[in-house]
Symmetry: D2
Subunit: 331 residues, 4 copies
């Protein structure tokens, strides 16, 4: 089986490395317009083929799937062409720069019976898998809030603002672990240097009292990668900057007394043990590549599928609109 | 000089302790409707007088000022009566439960030429004083954002929501260190247990691209007290949970190249040293009490004055309205 | 019941405060040669009696026990006189400045059938009680090492070196939770300012391969209070600087394969979950005072008894000798 | 210029990678008895040559230097043969398993006018270089102590104990930044699984009151890499586990009053700012490789030279002897 990796700039080489290291390694063809990148790839991974011609990849019947790791604005066109050429597609996050295009790709993939995946790598981390498992087993109770902070100094992107760059990570995690549908998005952003937001806050409301909140920022002196998940039974702190103990589960919470007593506290606090489950040391991107290959082989449905890609784009789109109109946007 | 402390429940005793420990200690009369609290105070501070009659405090010509540490809804009435009785007034935060009342108190105090202070204790901490100093000396540059997180498990209040309870601390700090006036407030809150918000996010916009953001939460498993201040020259992390090194100043930032070059990064990162200034170990509330006494004596103008109390109430009021109307509120 | 507290300088007032706050409060007589301290105590705790005459305390038949919180060199004489006067005795740590004297006090207390306790406060903390419980329940397995670091800047003592000042805390914890008897002590110290050691390392060996090690230091820029306990089943990290999560229990360890295979790793690593038990928020000194009173009343045997006081003094004595002779000392 | 890398098991590939990435890359010949490792290297670095014949490396006139990354017990023989064959030599730490052999290698290298280096990688880290710079500029004052903790779970070595495995890192740092000569070594170790120490404490004394101490441990549930350096002017905390802010410099210390006053504290504490210098993000091993090449080219004297290798071996040897004889060893 051969896979084409389109775009071998910053992220593409990671895809190549993982594709080459699968238990059943696949052949890889690297495609980039920049000849220097192809020389680099050939030197680093002598086994790969290289080409600067995307059309030749699409025409190559040995190539069953392509990974698209090009700038965001090109995702839709390149994915569409690949699907039309009968290739399975894995596209970098965010899936497209409009939800309309994302929906179109989903439809096209369904018509052609092709795999369409988005590279929401975090869904394959052992930390997120453990959180999903805890919530599924009702260890956490009803989710009251999902609060994410992803901030650091840079890296400013050329073509997109901080929301398109950073928010897909945390939005995809929230989308994966929370079953409820969002109903509205409110976002505030600020631009300090060029015409693009370099920091933003996004708030997502649901039908229940669940609230999602995201702080994304290219202007922070410290690097923070923390998600708090408040459940009625237990609460989770997921600190991705920790080398071990990334997830801590607190048996803490609030119990409300049913009977109301005047001039008395009606709230009881529950403060129990904390534990940090041992997490397997795996490379998430490797599991994602395996998911792509297994899905191509028809063995399973992919986890990070087109629909999740679409939902994330839709929320980002609504965030942008909310910033522009300075009001919440229904979705 | 004698001072009446009205309300000796949770916070009042701290005021009493500090008033009794000033370099030039003042006499203290404790006033509370609950006789148990008066017995407790008498036992703990045998030197104080006690009464359950507020009117007798107001009628007592020896008492020059009162500290009002009663529930928020009573602040306005009690402060007004005290001012009308010719007493200088220090009122707990938040100043009142409406900005109209706060404005009325300010006017009354001015008419009567009386001191009117609000207990924004944080303004007197060595950490906040150091931040104010750094900004005043233009060490930090233009402030790009002020991001505050004040979260922990409880303590749920009976009479107010999490905004009225926790936000005054951080709003007063922002108001103190930032000269610019806010122009709009957007808030989102959520209620999980009773009819009051137990978590909220407040975003404040200014005429410039400066943005203020506040996360306040009674439902967090971990206690966080962190303020990030992003300046164009330097950036500050103020972590109030640290016993030492509460403030860290990062010589980090972004420099934009003036000339635009196509296909090139236009942003340069500046990453220099970090330093944590040594902060004096003082009790902020003691300095606040001294400020009150010195202001009564006409030696100075108080730092945490009625106007700052008013501004904070106005922002909280706007936050409430924003939550209700689900849109930003101009102020 | 009345208790005399002898010496109300730095630590004595804490004893007084706790004795006065017991569920069944006792009467307290404070004794000090410094009249200022007696005035201070009277002001802070109006209920106490005061005297500058130790003999009058001993002669007072209402006083059943004394707490001795005077300089270390006076412990032996004052405790002996108290026992001879028929008083139960609680003496500050370290119990005496020689193990011979400590043994003499134990004998005297036994002859007179009087309670003799030493103020090893840490034994009454919820953290140490939890560690003791875990070890007793064989959760930890065989203890392989006990490693303690207690370092900070100062406070330099006038009359004793860093070992007599700081080591009793950690030595008493080790003595409490580990059943095995030490067989030798090796210590190294260094003096940088006056004639007394301001930092030291103590190593204690046991008949098994268990090893105890203590780093105590008045010259550290950072404050560290950490004990590592390595067991064959689980391992404990006790960080007393944490406000919550003082104890973390790691399901980590090493399993050795029984069969030896050439050129192969014989060691397997076990890496499981970590958990931090919720610890009650109690004041250890209050529990110690209750233990003293209950022991006087004959309801129980005290935990922090004379024998544990003796063992700790014996190890410190051996440490001093080891530093002097530059070799391990058998005990 | 060609370099032979002898042994491409765990560490050798890192040397190869860095040698190939130098500004002026050198040719690399990998030598190993295990054909699998040679296949691996050829696959990962197609540009390298491979051989299983050490003698052929030594006979190859194109090869000017060899890096010896084989088990410790083989270092001496392999390095001697290389020097006798006229090759410059970089040998892994520890240099040899006896100081006698280390001294012999130094003599041989001097006779033949060949470079002899030891891979004390830490000397080339920006953290250690900064510490050296601060001490050289007398920012720190006289060093009072050097306290190192290097502990974690495993990795148990087959052929050496924890001292030979871990201590060279910290001993080489101490040797580099401290000018004074050690006069005696006292060590205590413990064996819990097989016949080799899996944890140890080493104390090094100097003529002055300077004291060096090292805790090395394969049985710790947490990974710690911390060095405290106490100077009379300032104090350094070097935490190698921090991703940024590895070095913190504390303006803290003790000042002794010259005049002695009875009943008065004679010690003053100085507590000033802390700062964390920005450290360059460099790969230390790359700088070490450059040092090796530049030294071969006669451009400079190597930093991590044979003499430092010898001194570290001598201290480890003395530690072993001290454990065996249970007394300090003069050196």
């Amino acid at each position: 089986m051969k896979i084409g990796v389109i775009g071998v700039g910053y992220w593409g080489p990671n895809l190549v490395r993982n594709l080459l290291s699968l238990k059943e390694p696949v052949g890889v063809i690297c495609c980039d317009l920049n000849p220097q990148r192809l020389i680099y790839m050939k030197k680093r991974f002598p086994i790969v083929e290289t080409t600067d011609n995307y059309q030749s990849v699409l025409n190559n019947p040995d190539i069953v799937g392509v990974c698209i790791a090009t700038p965001i604005r090109t995702h839709y066109t390149m994915a569409k062409e690949a699907l039309l050429a009968g290739k399975h597609v894995l596209v970098e996050k965010p899936m497209t720069d409009s939800s309309k295009d994302a929906a179109a790709l989903i439809e096209l993939a369904e018509q052609r019976n092709l795999v369409l995946m988005v590279d929401h790598t975090f869904l394959y981390t052992s930390a997120v898998k453990k959180i999903k498992e805890l919530i599924s087993q009702d260890e956490i109770g009803s989710i009251m809030y999902f609060d994410s902070v992803r901030i650091n100094l840079g890296v400013f992107q050329h073509d997109v603002n901080v929301i398109w760059d950073l928010a897909p990570h945390d939005l995809s995690i929230m989308h994966y672990i929370i079953d409820e549908k969002p109903i509205s998005v409110m976002a505030v952003g600020s631009k300090h240097f060029d015409g693009r937001e370099d920091m933003a806050y996004i708030t997502i409301q649901f039908e229940s009292s669940l609230i999602g909140h995201f702080h994304i920022n290219w202007l922070s002196p410290v690097k923070v990668r923390t998600i708090l998940i408040g459940g009625t039974k237990k609460m989770i702190v997921y600190n991705d900057m920790e080398s071990s103990e990334k997830i801590k589960i607190y048996d803490k919470g609030v119990d409300i007394k049913t009977e109301e007593m005047r001039y008395q506290v009606l709230v009881d606090y529950r403060i129990g043990d904390m534990y940090a489950p041992n997490l397997e040391q795996t490379e998430a991107l490797s599991d994602l590549c395996e998911d792509f290959i297994a899905s191509i082989q028809g063995k399973k449905k992919p986890l990070s599928n087109g629909l999740s890609g679409y939902e994330i784009v839709r929320i980002i789109e609504a965030s942008q609109q909310s910033i522009k109109l300075a009001r919440p946007i229904k979705i």
